[in-house]
């Protein structure tokens, strides 16, 4: 028997009532407690946000295990606040880019660059800015922390939404035009649903990336100002400063629990629900499952609860904006020639603005620094580049064979794939102190042995993408290999490598971007008063940030951005294009 739980209300009321009657009372009760608890927690957490700044000093972060749940809660709320801000950004900016050709000319390259530059470096600027806006309230620092997380989340989400808007199916587009949908209705009925699967995937990626920044952004020192917001990140940095192993362990544990909880309570149900938005006309073989989603569908109380929560959204979706007095739109049709000329003017304006900005940046740096600084910075950039290349190569050598081995065994890949994804979400920087201990104990060279930390968190992207690629190898190809006895090097060269290559490139691209970012926290590591440093661009930026030396921070970020963009354009992009063109199965 097939149940249609999302069926439209009132379509067959009698049947629906019969089905609902059989709900389990304990499930209703459990759901009530869950929901009530959640509400109280959210209210408590947000209340604390605009407490006066002084409270941070009178009531500092302590390593008291009883307070850890509260810290975890506040960190999580920050993450979701940033995610909400990212969504608002995504809907407005990506829509603008998709609708206006002139906006598109700026937004798309900007998103592309922002996706790949080291946002960690911006932290020092934004903290100062937000503290200036809310001088005596914690709100300023909260905003700075949230903004830092936002900068790690927003760009790929916006890019994904933009790409969905540009690839809307032509026939559905015609339906909306033929029925004369209002722009809002079109957004609710076509654009948003079509974009949802890609958007959710990118939201999950963003959340994983966000954890990395939470640790770095809650406890930050800019020059003489040190701000420590209550949260897991601050707990960890305090524990590290006090060399308290037990507390580090507790913090890591709390973080793991939070990641599992939001994955199970928030993302899994959303993914299960969003399965219906996948743009395929055929039923999928393995629909994603979630026990929370099932629970919500089965219990009357939770359904009502969700209905209440979603009620404003539903009302919003049903709203007709054009009932409001609308401004008459003037549509000017221009000849193609004038249109092109206008485009040229627009591009010229953008170029002039860019040149001005560049001149400003160079002026700012030149006032404080000399050419030799620039040359040194580039040299450090080369050092970090060598690290990134070597690490990606090593990770490839290790994880590709393992990933292929796992991917070709469905029983294993089903069990290990979620673990690999969890490891990718786990912020590796909390594990750095252990590495410091080891390096100090064995008297190793930090220039070499700090490097692996850069890829600690991002290598998993290579692993889980390769697993996905290997498990997608069609059965008939494997059978061909079996029949003709293709093995060893030929098997790798002609079957496996071509099959996993597109997946591998996706994973390696993400991993190398993450590496650059991680270098800022991985090249300088402290454990109590032991301070280890590896020469590199990341260390340069980190040191400049803690010294409050803005010109050097700006120079460091600019150089790193240049390296990342050049690396992406010259290595990953061509490989990606090649994979798309030649190696797509089907």
């Amino acid at each position: 028997m097939v149940f249609f739980f999302e069926d439209a209300k009132g379509a067959r009321p009698l049947v629906r009532m019969l089905r609902r009657g059989g709900g389990l009372p304990w499930a209703d009760f459990a759901a009530f407690i869950l929901l009530a608890g959640l509400t109280v927690m959210v209210i408590h957490g947000t209340e604390q946000m605009d407490a006066p700044l002084a409270q941070l000093h009178t009531n500092p972060v302590t390593l008291d295990a009883a307070r850890l749940p509260e810290y975890a809660l506040r960190t999580t709320l920050r993450m979701f606040a940033a995610l909400a801000a990212s969504l608002v950004f995504t809907f407005s900016v990506a829509t603008l880019a998709a609708k206006s050709r002139k906006a598109e000319l700026i937004i798309v390259p900007a998103l592309d660059i922002l996706q790949s530059v080291p946002v960690l470096g911006f932290l020092s600027f934004t903290v100062t800015m937000f503290m200036g806006w809310f001088p005596f309230s914690q709100l300023g620092v909260e905003c700075a922390a949230i903004f830092a997380i936002f900068t790690s989340q927003a760009w790929n989400m916006a890019f994904s939404f933009y790409q969905s808007l540009r690839t809307l199916p032509a026939d559905l587009d015609e339906v909306t035009r033929q029925f004369g949908f209002s722009p809002w209705r079109r957004f609710v009925r076509l654009e948003l649903p079509y974009a949802i699967p890609g958007l959710i995937w990118n939201m999950m990626m963003s959340m994983s990336g966000g954890w990395f920044f939470v640790v770095a952004s809650e406890a930050i020192t800019v020059g003489n100002t040190t701000v420590t917001l209550p949260g897991i990140g601050s707990w960890l940095s305090l524990a590290i400063a006090r060399e308290d192993f037990k507390s580090v362990g507790l913090g890591v544990l709390a973080m793991g629990v939070v990641i599992v909880l939001y994955d199970q309570l928030v993302f899994r149900p959303i993914v299960a629900w969003a399965d219906k938005f996948r743009f395929e006309q055929t039923a999928s073989q393995a629909a994603p499952k979630s026990w929370v989603h099932d629970l919500i569908r089965r219990t009357r109380f939770l359904r009502t609860g969700i209905d209440v929560v979603l009620w404003p959204l539903r009302k919003l979706a049903a709203l007709e904006w054009s009932r409001l007095p609308s401004v008459p739109r003037v549509r000017v049709t221009l000849s193609p020639k004038t249109d092109r000329a206008l485009d040229a003017v627009w591009i010229a304006v953008v170029l002039v603005a860019c040149a001005f900005a560049l001149w400003q940046l160079i002026g700012f740096i030149a006032r404080h620094l000399t050419w030799s600084d620039v040359v040194t910075t580039f040299g450090l950039g080369m050092v970090t580049l060598v690290r990134v290349v070597v690490l990606i190569a090593l990770a490839t050598l290790i994880w590709v064979p393992i990933g292929v081995w796992i991917g070709l065994r469905p029983a294993w890949s089903q069990r290990l794939q979620p673990i690999a994804q969890f490891l990718a979400a786990f912020p590796a920087n909390v594990l750095f102190p252990f590495a410091v201990m080891a390096i100090v104990a064995f008297r190793l060279d930090p220039n070499i042995w700090l490097s692996p930390l850069m890829i600690l968190g991002t290598q998993w992207y290579i692993l889980f993408n390769v697993i996905a690629g290997a498990s997608a190898i069609p059965g008939d190809m494997k059978e061909v290999a079996g029949i003709f006895g293709i093995r060893n090097w030929q098997w790798w060269r002609q079957i496996v490598i071509p099959a996993i290559f597109p997946y591998y490139v996706t994973g390696a691209l993400t991993a190398s971007g993450g590496c650059w970012n991680a270098s800022i926290v991985a090249e300088v590591v402290t454990w109590g008063n032991r301070h280890l440093e590896a020469a590199g661009l990341g260390a340069f930026i980190a040191n400049a940030t803690s010294a409050g030396d803005y010109p050097r921070v700006a120079l460091g970020i600019a150089v790193m951005s240049l390296f990342v963009i050049a690396f992406n354009r010259s290595v990953w992009r061509p490989m990606y294009a090649f994979a798309e063109r030649r190696l797509r199965i089907n």
Partner: protein, 439 residues
């Protein structure tokens, strides 16, 4: 038994299309002219078919009437009908165009929602339409749970629920299998003749000749390049029509002949495809298909001369699919199209009787003689000392003469033909033509 439709017939036109001309792509000389000087009047209470091959602009005309496209020139008007509100249109799509994230009921309601019909009434009308079209019990299903036929029923219900005066149908049954398509056609005709649909007229685009003869009161036959109306045929056969009846067969034959005849007898043969010389847009037809068709005509029962409708049904081809293949054969002087017949020429006969290598030699000779683009590529390669030329060069040349899409298709076709004929080689990763064989 003939069923007579009960609605009174008023003699006022619902739609008037005058002098419509449409150019796709860049304005100016390089754009592709898809519709040239088309007139159409849709009367009250009739089913009109727009019959033609792909690329004959019939879908463009339908979209102009739907208001989805503004034609480059000409007018589409809806003269006011006495005692009726404004004329409205609604459309059924070839691909169904259902929202996969909405249930059947929500999909049907979508048009009403856009018109801001209150919720209660929306629900009532949608359920009525679902009932009418035979979808009861599927209200809460998602499109991916339905078969193709059921999905198109949803498309039909969605179009009908908004009470349009005219139902526009864009190849509504061509994505369905033969049996399902036949059921849907019959159901639609039943609803129409019993007057159970609120619509006043149906305009249906199709490339299936039998479908047009089966359903329509009037058929407009379109020719391609550029699309224009070459014939208007009024079908007076009583409903329900029998595909096997001699009158039906005769009409189908007649339309086949009209669709294959050349507009003017002395027109050069290159005129079969849009564009002239190297700018001729070539259809993607494989050399295997060409060989197969020549072999089929050469063998029993045709022995060198085949009647197209007969051939199409024997080979399980739609007319639309068979025409381009036949025309490529004609372009290369392997066969000749004449009054609904495809006749093998001596070269075609020789091709069929040859072995693999002789076939290639013969094909190469005809390719370089009669396909200007192939000859052009070969000439450029011969002229260069390196015997190599980037494909980009030819692609740019083609894009000056046709749309990017057509250019891509044409180049791919000529590459396949050239490779088969061993007239030149092409290296995909370097994107270049050469005269060498790969090592």
């Amino acid at each position: 038994m003939a069923i007579v439709k009960s609605l009174p017939r008023t003699n006022s036109p619902l739609v008037e299309v005058r002098n419509v001309r449409h150019v796709y792509g860049k304005t100016g000389a390089s754009g592709l002219l898809v519709l040239d000087n088309v007139d159409l009047t849709l009367q009250d209470n009739e089913i009109v078919g727009l019959l033609g091959r792909s690329g004959s602009g019939k879908s463009t005309l339908l979209r102009s009437i739907a208001g989805l496209i503004t034609p480059t020139e000409g007018t589409v008007s809806f003269p006011p009908v006495p005692d009726c509100g404004p004329t409205t249109v609604s459309m059924v799509f070839q691909s169904f165009a259902l929202f996969p994230w909405l249930t059947v009921l929500e999909n049907v309601e979508v048009g009403l929602e856009a018109k801001r019909v209150p919720k209660e009434e929306r629900r009532k009308r949608a359920l009525a339409a679902i009932d009418l079209i035979g979808l009861d019990g599927f209200e809460s299903a998602y499109p991916k749970e339905l078969s193709g036929g059921m999905r198109q029923r949803v498309g039909l219900a969605r179009a009908l629920v908004v009470d349009p005066s005219i139902l526009l149908m864009d190849e509504p049954f061509s994505a369905l299998d033969v049996l399902t398509a036949e059921t849907l056609r019959t159901d639609l005709l039943d609803l129409w003749y019993e007057g159970r649909m609120p619509i006043r007229s149906i305009l249906i685009v199709t490339h299936n000749i039998e479908e047009a003869v089966l359903m329509c009161d009037r058929i407009l036959v379109f020719s391609s390049n550029p699309g224009h109306v070459v014939a208007e045929i009024t079908v007076t056969l009583p409903q329900p029509r029998n595909r096997q009846s001699p009158a039906f067969r005769a009409l189908v034959e007649d339309i086949y002949a009209r669709m294959t005849q050349r507009a003017t007898p002395d027109q050069p043969r290159e005129g079969l495809f849009p564009g002239m010389g190297i700018g001729m847009a070539l259809p993607r037809t494989s050399t295997n298909t060409l060989a197969g068709l020549m072999e089929a005509i050469s063998a029993d029962p045709y022995n060198g001369k085949a009647d197209l409708p007969e051939l199409a049904s024997a080979l399980h081809y739609e007319a639309d699919e068979l025409f381009p293949i036949a025309e490529v054969l004609q372009l290369m002087r392997f066969a000749e199209l004449e009054g609904g017949d495809l006749k093998l020429l001596p070269a075609g006969k020789r091709y069929v009787d040859s072995d693999v290598d002789q076939r290639k030699t013969l094909f190469a000779k005809h390719l370089l003689n009669y396909v200007p683009l192939a000859a052009h590529i070969r000439r450029v390669l011969d002229d260069r000392p390196s015997r190599k030329a980037p494909a980009r060069r030819f692609r740019d040349e083609l894009e000056d003469l046709m749309s990017e899409d057509y250019a891509d298709k044409t180049l791919k076709t000529v590459i396949q033909w050239g490779r088969y004929a061993e007239a030149f080689a092409y290296d995909e990763s370097a994107d270049q033509f050469s005269l060498e064989n790969p090592e």
